[in-house]
């Protein structure tokens, strides 16, 4: 069975190795007997909405992010509808910020977001949130990644988890990311999926369930993943998030 992965604007949103998320998802999909098809979207009119199984919104620099938002604003209502209906989405860093109402930069300029989720992001110059981070989640256990942002995101939605060795969405909270239906938004990259197999499996589980396919986790050997996570957690415990 085909598994349609939509990678949104990979040429522009390519700052944090997000291709690794796609590679990892494809790799797992194959282990489950699926046929992953990756669509690199640079024209929103070419999205076949009946066949979108997963969507990735990566991070880019401010200039590239602004360009992408222009394109995506054309389909913001559609994205919201799909997310509300349970479309699995991973949004990382800039992609996460732009799911909100707006991004106000440190000079006070306001860039409209996609308003898929009720949240706002405000740029600041006091302190950059930077380094390796462990996030404790209810659903996925401890996840690890690297953060590098100055924007502070504010929302009252369900966070992905709580950062245990640093700041989360903003300087006043440990709450990190957002978990809404099957959408995960987060500042964690690294990229996120390779070292956090529980998340990759979660996205695939949604697809298997929706298509009444048996989801047999044991087909996927995650021992390399566990080793990589262990190495990071050990490192962070030793060195902090420096």
């Amino acid at each position: 069975m085909d598994y349609h992965i939509y990678h949104m604007f990979p040429k522009l949103l390519n700052l944090y190795g997000d291709r690794g998320n796609i590679l990892t998802l494809s790799y797992y999909a194959k282990q489950l007997g699926l046929n992953p098809i990756v669509h690199e979207v640079d024209d929103v009119d070419k999205i076949d909405w009946d066949n979108v199984d997963f969507m990735l919104l990566g991070g880019g620099s401010d200039r590239e992010q602004a360009l992408v938002t222009k394109h995506l604003s054309k389909i913001k209502d559609k994205i919201k509808e799909e997310v509300d209906n349970g479309l699995p989405v991973l949004a990382v860093c800039g992609g996460y910020q732009f799911l909100g109402n707006y991004y106000k930069d440190s000079a006070g300029n306001v860039l409209d977001g996609l308003a898929v989720l009720d949240m706002d992001t405000i740029g600041q110059t006091k302190e950059r949130m930077l380094g390796n981070l462990i996030v404790e989640t209810d659903k996925f256990g401890q996840i690890v990644g690297f953060v590098n942002h100055a924007g502070e995101t504010f929302h009252s939605l369900n966070p992905l988890g709580n950062a245990i060795n640093g700041k989360g969405n903003n300087l006043d909270t440990n709450a990190e990311g957002v978990f809404y239906n099957n959408l995960i938004g987060t500042y964690l990259h690294g990229p996120l999926l390779p070292k956090n197999p529980e998340l990759t499996l979660f996205f695939l589980e949604q697809f298997m369930k929706k298509n009444n396919l048996e989801f047999d986790k044991s087909k996927i050997d995650t021992s390399f993943e566990q080793e990589a996570r262990r190495n990071m957690i050990e490192k962070i415990n030793k060195e902090g998030n420096k």
Binding site: Y27, G60, F146, H189, F224
Partner: protein, 428 residues
């Protein structure tokens, strides 16, 4: 006096086992803060080489050609490439008794140190190889870097030698320059799977390419303003069989890697501008074999072990393209995440390791502080997990790696230790 103290500091630092590539400069500066420009005045032709990738090799080629001349020359081949490192090289070469007039000096300079150095001296030439994003620098940071170099050149007579195939280099073309580049006949590079975003530095629109060599290097123009690549004075039309055809003259060399064609081309362009004879250039090229961990060959148990430094996705892609052509059975990666390597290693997912799948690699060895990330990168592209050997300690892997011909790729802070460990086992 400051020079003497600097020399003393270098010697003492080495006596206690350090490399002493910065200390001399640091000490001398404490005594005389004008020491840099003062020493530079003894040198008739100062050449600086900067850029993200290739500056060491370009500098090495130039220095090896200078070695063939009867004229006096100095360089920082052995030294560090920031302000105090270059100062240390000048101090080391200073003769306390005797004539200190030097004809040529070539210094590799860290990109970030160019403004500080330009502030004190007026070099004859500045060679700029390319600007790639290191790890995850945002383009805006690179924009700022190029702007600073641009500003530091204002009012100087320094002539630039620019890689015209790089739009970032061409941002400096408002200064007097001569260009070098590859002709459209060159087809020795493979297209990468993820293209960098390539924008016009003048108006910000996406550039259009008629040819693309690698990264953002190619033949480009902007459809929205008049920014474009210019025809280079020194053009490479072929690089087959370790022979470069530059302006209809053939130069043989011993460096592997198609990307090294750019470095040799840049060096030769500079040397031609200095009116150095082709036969001297040829002698210099013949004399130069890599010994600095840039595709350096080390023979162990009769096997060829190649060691190469990789700092960013562009460099990794060039190395992997080269690996595909090499006669090797084993691959090794040493990935560290110290500050100088970039603490965020997510860039490894942007590089095209997939090239290796077309090759019959028997075993992959991964090491360094982030060995496990590297192992995942390989596994998730389809390498059989059983063919991947992980150990955070490189020394524990050396014996296994060197049982066959191998390529060892090291990140910045891993390079020196890896080189030392491999050279210690080199066949006598």
């Amino acid at each position: 006096m400051s020079v003497l103290l600097g020399k003393l500091a270098i010697t003492s630092s080495r006596l206690i086992g350090n490399r002493g590539t910065d200390i001399g400069g640091v000490v001398a500066l404490k005594v005389n803060k004008n020491i840099f420009s003062k020493l530079a005045k003894n040198i008739e032709n100062i050449i600086l080489v900067t850029g993200t990738n290739g500056k060491s090799t370009t500098t090495n080629v130039i220095a090896n050609v200078f070695d063939q001349l009867e004229d006096s020359s100095i360089d920082n081949r052995k030294g560090a490439n920031m302000y105090t490192g270059i100062l240390t090289s000048m101090i080391e070469n200073y003769k306390v008794f005797g004539d200190n007039k030097i004809k040529y000096a070539v210094f590799e300079v860290d990109e970030g140190s160019v403004p500080k150095i330009m502030n004190e001296i007026e070099p004859k030439y500045l060679v700029v190889t390319n600007f790639f994003r290191d790890q995850l620098d945002r383009y805006s940071e690179m924009d700022m870097l190029v702007d600073k170099i641009d500003k530091s050149l204002e009012g100087k007579k320094t002539k630039l030698v620019l890689n015209v195939d790089d739009p970032f280099c061409m941002r400096l073309s408002n200064h007097e320059y001569i260009g070098y580049g590859l002709s459209s006949t060159i087809d020795d590079f493979k297209e990468g799977s993820v293209s960098d975003s390539r924008f016009c530095p003048v108006c910000g629109e996406e550039l259009e390419y008629t040819h693309n060599f690698y990264g953002q290097l190619g033949h480009y123009h902007c459809n929205h303003c008049d920014f474009k690549r210019t025809q280079p004075k020194y053009e490479l039309t072929s690089l087959k069989d370790n022979t470069l055809d530059i302006n209809n003259h053939l130069y043989k060399h011993h460096l592997s890697g198609a990307y090294n064609a750019y470095n040799i081309l840049g060096a030769i362009s500079l040397l031609k501008e200095l009116n150095i004879d082709d036969n001297i250039i040829e002698k210099g090229l013949d004399a130069y074999k890599s010994n600095d961990g840039r595709m350096q060959e080390i023979k162990i148990h009769g096997n060829s072990i190649y060691l190469n430094l990789v700092k960013n996705p562009a460099g990794m892609n060039m190395t992997l393209q080269e690996a595909e052509k090499m006669d090797i059975d084993n691959m090794a990666f040493i990935l560290n995440d110290a500050e100088a390597d970039g603490r965020d290693v997510s860039w490894i997912w942007d590089a095209d390791f997939e090239y290796l799948l077309e090759k019959d690699i028997k075993k992959y060895f991964v090491s360094g502080t982030r060995a496990q990330d590297m192992a995942l990168r390989l596994k998730n592209m389809g390498v059989d997990p059983k063919a991947i050997v992980v150990d955070n300690n490189f020394n524990a892997l050396i014996d296994a790696i060197t049982t066959k011909n191998a390529l060892v790729v090291a990140s910045y802070t891993a390079l020196n230790d890896a080189k030392k460990a491999l050279v210690a086992k080199e066949d006598k």
